[in-house]
């Protein structure tokens, strides 16, 4: 046991200075205790060179395209596309690298981001509708099929994919609505996309057992 003359407290630790005021302690005898807390090394200076390099390059190239576009402007804001692509890259990288994220939710994020990206691209090079007519329906078809494969392979854990599956399928109904509003000029991809989405939804309702229903209830409770 030690004592701090300034604070007038006893200190039950094997140290030479007072934890309160840093005065040198006086030994007053008695047993010498061991450590009661571990010595800790916090690893706080993990220097991630790859990430820093990518951040640096992203900002530089983003700014460079904007400046070049501005200086040589000829009616097309093409730099918006490269900036959107850089942002897309970052979302995908951070989301996909993240450990333990459900594969189905990676597909869902991919579907949403890729759809937005194609619409931006289409819009800035003089909207001709290729994004909504072709690309988005094809992304949806692909996503529906991928999740379906996941479910078939991993039948036991269907409920872990169900939320993403339903959201993708519901998202897949949007092109159908656009078609009904007369905004789609090439109907075939849209019809297939909405058709697969509808099939997936219907299949989920009919073939989904108790565990699927319970999963949906907990996911959607409010």
């Amino acid at each position: 046991m030690k004592k701090c003359k300034r604070c007038n407290v006893k200190v039950y630790e094997n140290i030479t200075i007072c934890p309160l005021c840093r005065t040198v302690l006086t030994d007053i005898g008695g047993e010498v205790p061991g450590r009661t807390y571990p010595a800790i090394e916090v690893n706080q200076h993990k220097y991630n060179i790859v990430k820093r390099l990518f951040v640096f390059l992203s900002i530089i190239s983003g700014l460079a395209t904007v400046v070049t576009n501005y200086v040589t402007y000829s009616g097309v804001v093409w730099s918006a596309i490269s900036v959107a692509a850089i942002i897309y890259f970052w979302i995908i990288m951070t989301y996909s690298i993240k450990r333990s994220t459900n594969i189905a939710s990676k597909i869902l994020v991919q579907v949403l981001c890729a759809s937005i990206l194609t619409v931006i691209m289409d819009y800035f090079i003089g909207y001709s509708g290729w994004s909504v007519n072709h690309v988005i329906p094809e992304i949806i078809i692909l996503a529906n099929i991928s999740v379906l494969i996941l479910v078939i392979i991993n039948r036991m854990y269907w409920q872990t994919y169900i939320l993403n599956q339903v959201i993708i399928a519901v998202f897949g109904l949007i092109p159908g609505i656009l078609y009904l509003c007369g905004l789609i000029e090439v109907p075939l991809p849209t019809i297939i996309a909405t058709g697969t989405s509808f099939t997936v939804l219907l299949g989920t309702i009919i073939f989904g057992d108790k565990s699927i229903k319970s999963e949906l209830i907990r996911r959607f409770h409010f």
């Binding site: 407290v9 200190v11 630790e13 934890p19 309160l20 840093r22 807390y37 010595a39 409770h221």
Partner: protein, 429 residues
């Protein structure tokens, strides 16, 4: 195990206050608190693991993982096993479920001490203490199997089995009352320790001496500590000058006594004791009197019912209910950042810990530590066991002005204090 919300499928909603914690928790503010028990002998990892495996099935409140729904977070029962570890981080570090078998609590040990670190979403101090006690009983039973009688070995470790009702909703009554807008509080500023480092200082005093001492002033222990912390902030951080912002300490209140509940989920609220320094000279006795008065006026069933009503009615609001989770999260973050401005510090007193008579001789003491943040850099946890009252300060500030003034004040009053620290105060200079 089943519960009232139909957990045969293994899921349940978060309780009313729990909804906040998953949103605000981060590496720098973990919302994790620690309750430790110190035994008489060094802890064995194997036995502790066995004791944990035996204890967990009794607590469906702890046996969960956190999941995201479309509108709210929810708990799902966790089929994995938690793993006991030797303490290797600072106390109350952020619990990353991905590296913790999805559990929201951690059991660690060091020397003679067992630490239970709990993410606040699953339960409050009362629930955690119940778990820690059961764990300790099981540990003692396993360790001293030969010495203990048959009767003690077969003694149940819990009294109420897994009571997981949301007592906020249970005791919710729609009340209308005048709301007072809280004023933002004076903040403790100073140079910070390196990131993720926490300075821990425990002050050990005799509970009997301290209680007698408080009785002389006709105040409770919590009131005395609250007043003393306000006094130390006034002395050390405000330099005894008037200031437009009040010094406010936030004190969590266990609602179970007031509303007769035994839930293992969260059931607490806060009171806020504050003093605005308006003149140049204050005495400690004056501050003690003001603090006592504020405790008396705020610590009433009526006032606490208002707080519950306020929280639950917000949660039950239909517009809030149908907002998707990411939208809610933004709202909760903003609301929390606002509420954080209202406290200078936090004092949590989990009170007198009572254990079963048969196990008393194996237990030395209990301790409580709270996680701190930039905005609330020093917090105080208090608890007593037998005659051992431990007042523990967790801090991320380099200087220990508050802790020093606090304990010096006690020794000046003739109360003997024994200090123990985690070494940060003198090693990380």
């Amino acid at each position: 195990m089943k519960n009232k919300q139909g957990t045969e499928n293994g899921w349940r909603k978060l309780d009313n206050t729990a909804n906040v914690f998953p949103v605000i928790a981060s590496k720098t503010y973990s919302s994790v608190y620690r309750i430790s028990v110190r035994l008489m002998h060094e802890i064995s990892e194997e036995i502790l693991q066995e004791a944990l495996n035996e204890t967990l099935p009794w607590f469906s409140s702890f046996n969960v993982k956190l999941k995201r729904g479309v509108f709210w977070h929810y708990f799902e029962s966790n089929k994995k096993q938690p793993v006991v570890e030797k303490e290797q981080t600072y106390p109350c570090a952020y619990i990353d479920p991905n590296t913790n078998n999805q559990f929201l609590f951690k059991v660690t040990y060091f020397d003679k001490r067992i630490n239970l670190e709990v993410f606040h979403a699953i339960t409050d101090g009362t629930g955690a203490l119940k778990f820690l006690k059961a764990l300790t009983y099981n540990y003692i039973k396993l360790t001293y199997r030969e010495q203990l009688s048959e009767e003690i070995l077969e003694m149940p470790v819990v009294d109420v089995v897994s009571d997981i009702e949301d007592s906020y909703r249970k005791n919710y009554r729609k009340l209308s009352y005048k709301k007072v807008k809280a004023r933002s509080a004076f903040k403790l500023k100073g140079e910070k320790l390196p990131i993720l480092t926490m300075n821990v200082i425990h002050g050990l005093v005799s509970a009997n001496v301290m209680v007698d001492f408080c009785r002389r002033y006709k105040v409770s222990l919590t009131q005395y500590i609250a007043a003393l912390i306000i006094w130390c902030i006034y002395k050390e951080y405000m330099n005894e000058q008037p200031h437009k912002k009040p010094i406010k300490v936030n004190i969590p209140v266990n609602l179970r006594h007031f509303f007769n509940s035994t839930t293992e989920m969260n059931f607490f609220s806060y009171i806020n004791v504050g003093i605005t320094i308006e003149k140049n000279e204050y005495t400690f006795e004056e501050m003690l009197e003001i603090t006592r008065g504020q405790f008396m006026s705020q610590l009433t069933k009526e006032n606490l019912s208002h707080l519950i009503s306020d929280n639950v009615s917000t949660e039950r609001n239909i517009l809030i209910r149908v907002a998707p989770l990411p939208v809610k999260n933004v709202g909760v973050k903003i609301a929390y950042m606002g509420s954080e401005k209202n406290n200078s510090s936090v004092i949590s007193n989990i009170g007198k810990v009572e254990v079963l008579e048969e196990f008393k001789e194996y237990i030395d003491r209990f301790e409580v530590l709270l996680s701190v943040s930039k905005s609330e850099p020093i917090k105080c946890g208090v608890c007593s066991y037998g005659d051992k009252l431990v007042i523990s300060f967790a801090s991320i500030l380099k200087e220990t002005y508050l802790q020093r003034a606090f304990f010096r004040h006690l020794t000046e009053q003739g109360i003997e204090v024994i200090i123990e620290s985690n070494g940060v105060g003198y090693e990380k200079m």
